[in-house]
């Protein structure tokens, strides 16, 4: 029994079987990578985990509780945070405010009226937000409009927003896509330290094999909606089927 157990999940879009009998178990405090060709169903699987999509059949258990049928915010409150493939941030708010919102969500739950206190009075939370911004090297952009950040920075911001919630399970959908190589390396380091420092489980989708092989404890290869193989990284690298379907010359 892992922290996350996906059993026999199926999802169809019209005539397309996007997910077929997916079984997946993510062990606590591990980094589990999901790789696979474009259109394999990776993002769809993630969508089923966070309540954006409801699978046609199958079950998804998180820490012993089913997530199916729950609203996205309930699932997040259970301890799952997600970084999207195309950055989802609060574009009209400042970088700093973007960091405060997940903090409030963490502290106050899904809804709480704080209509009279000022945001600026929340000293403790502000400190936390600034610390996190510093960690992702964005403290100098604190007051910028998040919408006007460059794409790499938006990604980083989104990741910081998820991390600051200290989720039990962090879902990352191509977190380093479009990031400069140097920053990709920094991100790898960041995720590594976080993993070591905190008790956190990660599920990561990436096409950048450098990232995958530096971080993952286990890798599931998904192709056409079904898991092809699941194994430790070393074995995946050499796997002929994976090479053919996915890795090409990169391996």
């Amino acid at each position: 029994m892992g922290l996350l157990d996906v059993k026999d999940v199926n999802k169809r879009f019209g005539g397309l079987q996007a997910l077929g009998d997916v079984n997946l178990s993510v062990a606590e405090n591990s980094v589990h990578a999901i790789i696979g060709p474009n259109g394999a169903g990776k993002s769809t699987l993630l969508n089923c985990l966070v309540g954006k999509l409801i699978p046609d059949t199958g079950s998804v258990m998180f820490a012993g509780r089913s997530v199916l049928g729950r609203k996205p915010y309930e699932i997040n409150q259970m301890g799952i945070s997600r970084v999207f493939q195309t950055p989802e941030i609060f574009g009209d708010l400042s970088v700093f405010e973007n960091m405060m919102i997940p903090l409030f969500a963490k502290r106050d739950g899904a809804f709480r009226m704080h209509a009279f206190e000022g945001v600026t009075q929340e000293r403790g939370l502000i400190g936390e937000a600034e610390k996190m911004l510093d960690e992702v090297d964005m403290l100098d952009k604190r007051e910028l409009h998040a919408g006007s950040l460059s794409r790499g920075d938006k990604r980083r911001l989104e990741m910081a927003m998820c991390l600051i919630q200290r989720p039990k399970l962090l879902l990352l959908d191509e977190p380093t896509a479009g990031m400069a190589r140097a920053d990709t390396n920094n991100t790898i380091e960041l995720l590594k330290t976080i993993k070591n420092k905190r008790d956190i489980t990660m599920c990561i989708i990436e096409h950048d094999m450098h990232v995958v092989f530096s971080l993952a404890d286990r890798i599931t290869v998904l192709a056409q909606g079904t898991p092809l193989v699941e194994d430790v990284p070393e074995n995946i690298k050499g796997h002929p089927k994976v090479k053919e379907a996915y890795l090409g010359e990169a391996a």
Binding site: V50, K71, P72, Y73, N76, Q77, S81, R82, F84, E88, I89, F90, G91, D92, L93, E97, M100, I101, P102, F104, A105, K106, D108, G109, A110, F111, M113, H114, A115, F116, E117, G118, V119, T120, Q121, E122, M161, Q165
Partner: protein, 399 residues
């Protein structure tokens, strides 16, 4: 102080000063001069300025922060008015219970409509609110006449039961609204040379309440709640995946702004105890939308400015007739006088709508951020003049 930052405190102080001094500021012209027509410092209009200011401030909490455009907000103002007048009819002419009841009733009504309408967003939400308000209006005008007195509007009559008061005064008149004995229509007149200034009890009550409402709205804007509302506007998707439920936030904002509207309605009735069904018509809902955008949606002071602007046109420009025009231009030779009057004629009096329409267009074309932006531009102009020139030259590229 007051839990506000320096800038907000300054704004609040400025607004307080302006409202307190309004009787002077709005009456800049001597009362016998030909420009006296432009004076707006009489109780009815001053009350309207601040009451519609309250209405617009409340609307802005919903629209400015969450971006949910309600096209039926006048319904809450309407039910607030009805509630207040019924309070006058049944309980007492004291305005306090009436105002309290109007806020509560409007809040409940908003809770009901908001709960249903907020299931949709964007234009679908706007049309849902519009539909509810139009329904309220149509019913108030016809089948609900026993409650609303239909077309005429709910009025106070000589035979009202009024439990904590008299049905009629000793001399057979209808009693007037008051605040613990202070009559709302009581007005002190100060004559200073040719100038005349009116200090109305009703106005100062409204102004005080408006300041409180404004203060509250600043607090909401600066609070975590306000930030959540802006987040709703920015990206609801992200909000949900961050573990927050947008629905109660928007519903709370909706109810709060409905209560502001109810407060405005209650005050309108307290100043002039009549509640007309037209208060709930879509044009009235549209008006508060226009006030907010015209002033600057999402800004603190904008909606108040917008409210003042529209009410000024409605009340001052509609009263300029040819007779007045001839009065102004009497100094010109006859032919010229007639020509000038003929040119201005279509824009005033019965043409006041034309001027209002043109003003809407000019403001939104040239001041995309509303009147507030106009103010900022003027402010910047002054600052730039003072500031060193080379910096200005460096900053904005010339095109």
């Amino acid at each position: 102080m007051l839990g506000l930052g320096k800038k907000d405190l300054g704004l609040l102080a400025a607004v307080a000063a302006l409202t307190l001094l309004a009787p002077f500021l709005l009456n800049p012209f001597p009362s016998d001069s030909s420009l006296a027509q432009f004076n707006a410092g009489y109780p009815d209009l001053m009350q309207r300025f601040v009451i519609f200011g309250i209405f617009a401030i409340g609307f802005n909490i919903l629209f400015g922060l969450t971006g949910y455009l309600s096209f039926g907000h006048a319904a809450f103002l309407g039910v607030g008015s009805y509630a207040a007048v019924w309070m006058f009819k049944l309980l007492t002419m004291n305005v306090i219970p009436a105002i309290i009841l109007s806020v509560i009733v409007a809040g409940l009504f908003a809770l009901l409509i908001g709960f249903i309408s907020l299931r949709r967003s964007g234009i679908y939400f706007a049309i849902l609110t519009l539909a509810f308000a139009q329904m309220s209006f149509a019913l108030a005008y016809s089948v609900l006449t026993p409650i609303t007195n239909g077309e005429t509007g709910l009025q106070i009559a000589l035979d009202d039961p009024r439990i904590l008061g008299v049905s009629a005064t000793a001399d057979g008149s209808i009693p007037v609204t008051h605040l613990f004995g202070l009559e709302m229509r009581a007005t002190e007149i100060l004559n200073l040379g040719p100038w005349q200034f009116q200090f109305s009890a009703g106005y100062y009550l409204c102004a005080a309440i408006m300041l409180a409402a404004f203060y509250l709205s600043i607090r909401i804007f600066r609070s975590p709640f306000g930030m959540m509302l802006r987040a709703v506007k920015s990206n609801q998707q992200r909000l949900y995946y961050t573990g927050l439920n947008a629905r109660p936030y928007t519903l709370a904002a909706f109810v709060i702004s409905g209560m502001y509207a109810g407060l405005a309605g209650g005050l309108l009735a307290s100043m002039d105890p009549l509640a007309g069904a037209e208060r709930m018509q879509w044009t009235a809902s549209g008006e508060v939308v226009l006030m907010t955008i015209l002033g600057g949606a999402g800004t603190l002071i904008g909606p108040v400015l917008g409210a003042g602007f529209i009410k000024y046109f409605e009340n001052i420009f509609s009263k300029l007739n040819d007779n007045v025009l001839h009065g102004w231009f009497a100094f010109l030779p006859d032919g010229l006088e007639n020509a000038v009057v003929a040119i201005i004629h279509p824009f005033v009096g019965k043409g006041w709508h034309l001027t209002l329409g043109l003003m809407f267009m000019l403001v939104v074309i040239f001041l995309p951020g509303g009147l507030v932006e106009g103010g900022q531009r003027i402010g910047r102009l002054f600052r730039r003049k003072r500031g060193s020139e080379e910096r200005a030259a460096q900053q904005t590229p010339a095109e």
